[in-house]
Symmetry: C2
Subunit: 315 residues, 2 copies
Amino acid sequence: MKILDRHEIDAALDKDTVIKAVREAFVSHSQGHIQSPSPLHMTFRDEAGLRTGDCHVKSAHSNHHKVIAIKVAIGMYKNAEKGVPVNNGLVLLLSRETGEPVALLQDEGLLTTYRTAAAGAIASGLASTKADDVLGIVGTGNQAFHQAEWTTHYLGLKKVMVFGRSTAKAADLTSKLSAHGLSAVRADSVAQLCANCRIVITTTPASDPIIMASDLPDGPRTNIHFVAVGADTHGKQELDAEILARAATVVADDLKQCLDHGDLAAANALGLIDPDQIVSLGSALAKGLSITEGVSVADLTGLGAQDLAIATLVT
Amino acid sequence: MKILDRHEIDAALDKDTVIKAVREAFVSHSQGHIQSPSPLHMTFRDEAGLRTGDCHVKSAHSNHHKVIAIKVAIGMYKNAEKGVPVNNGLVLLLSRETGEPVALLQDEGLLTTYRTAAAGAIASGLASTKADDVLGIVGTGNQAFHQAEWTTHYLGLKKVMVFGRSTAKAADLTSKLSAHGLSAVRADSVAQLCANCRIVITTTPASDPIIMASDLPDGPRTNIHFVAVGADTHGKQELDAEILARAATVVADDLKQCLDHGDLAAANALGLIDPDQIVSLGSALAKGLSITEGVSVADLTGLGAQDLAIATLVT
């Protein structure tokens, strides 16, 4: 059994290879070639019953992959007080032929970060862009940084605008992105961000919408493509349901998951979208969909197919 | 992260310590102290849609344990043709405090074998026995051997009688048990086994009952205690539902699991048992239940609490 740590895993991956593999994974998923059964969920509580952490175990396999991927992701909220990262994780790979353990990838969540950044870049690429278009990022965390880096790399963009509720954190992120050779500025408001950006990627754990329909520029010639990455579980929502209602094109990485706990859930509950009109990301990619104008939304909830694809690259 | 293989794990365990820990685990489970959420299940099929293997991931944790146990068990049915064991598995332990990986136990299923053997011994111990009582074993596989070894050790018995549908395999098992210092003989029929044994442990993957009510000796003075270990998933059944109906005492490791997919499921579906009269193994142990006469049954389906208890011993 091969055992690799975070640094060894990082050294084995480059953006272009990961993006290509994740792109193929979305297509395979939409064609029903990847099996990913219901995850296992654990919730941790203290003696008083307060939630102190959670863990989920996801898996994916297919007849076309040599390995079965089992991903463990765990978050213990009080770690920050102890100077330990809140999130941790690893991926276990078993042989699809014999079931024998093949590798343990002690990635501490790095593979999830990368496969999610790759997905954001790929979903951003559904919108047509020019080289001087601005990429908007909402949120200032780890995923915000990677979304900016991977998406500008993939689409050949140079300009990034960041909005965060914390001005200090947003300024930190623009500095970090500038140090990586990007032209990064901070937006004072969500409306300012929407007025300037062709693509807006949301990367927050918000439970109430952070972008409202009223933040969008008026007029029928508004061309803005939203990629919602943050809502990965029940109770999270980043986009006002009215934005979904206004969107000419809505794309979902997995329709069932997005209607269950993605940004589509609230809009669907209000009857503002027609599930039959939603396009799966994999089929959009297979067909070469290119969105040239209007308001559009891609909702990403994360797929086992992505985990399987990126883990396969490491082994 | 500590990584231990099967031999290192085996060396770290002895029967008495395992039995004590598993006993405490049943009591904790019955008191609601152990959390074990719904498992993750994978089914593998070939291109023709035929089932070629399966995998399940189970977990358990509590506020009283330093580790979270995540157990992966996988079976690939065609391995035998390749000279590779059909079943494989490992246990991953994460810190209950920080979520960091603590240990990987590459036990290849050994911990499950031992915690199941310990459970059979403990459930057998609910029946009062004398030193010259005979332990009956139905089945001739790996678990049959361990049930005989662990239960005779725990209860201080010397005599074992084995029934298997394959005479050759039953003879092999009696030879193996004799080599371990036991007085082991083969039964020609289930009825002969039932006529001679105080305790009968069933360890088969039978999908149709292997012990019928008509195999029991007649008369009200029949004293026989059944421990059903084999039925661990839907569609398996070892004991005729009429035996459950006749039992004065019925014990379950977990009532919900046993009614769902244990030997109790069929009897309950037929209305032959009253779920309110079923005693949980943990509370039976806590109260010191001792069954001195009549027909009794203990149904074991396997608990996450057992996995957590035995894995904790190794780290």
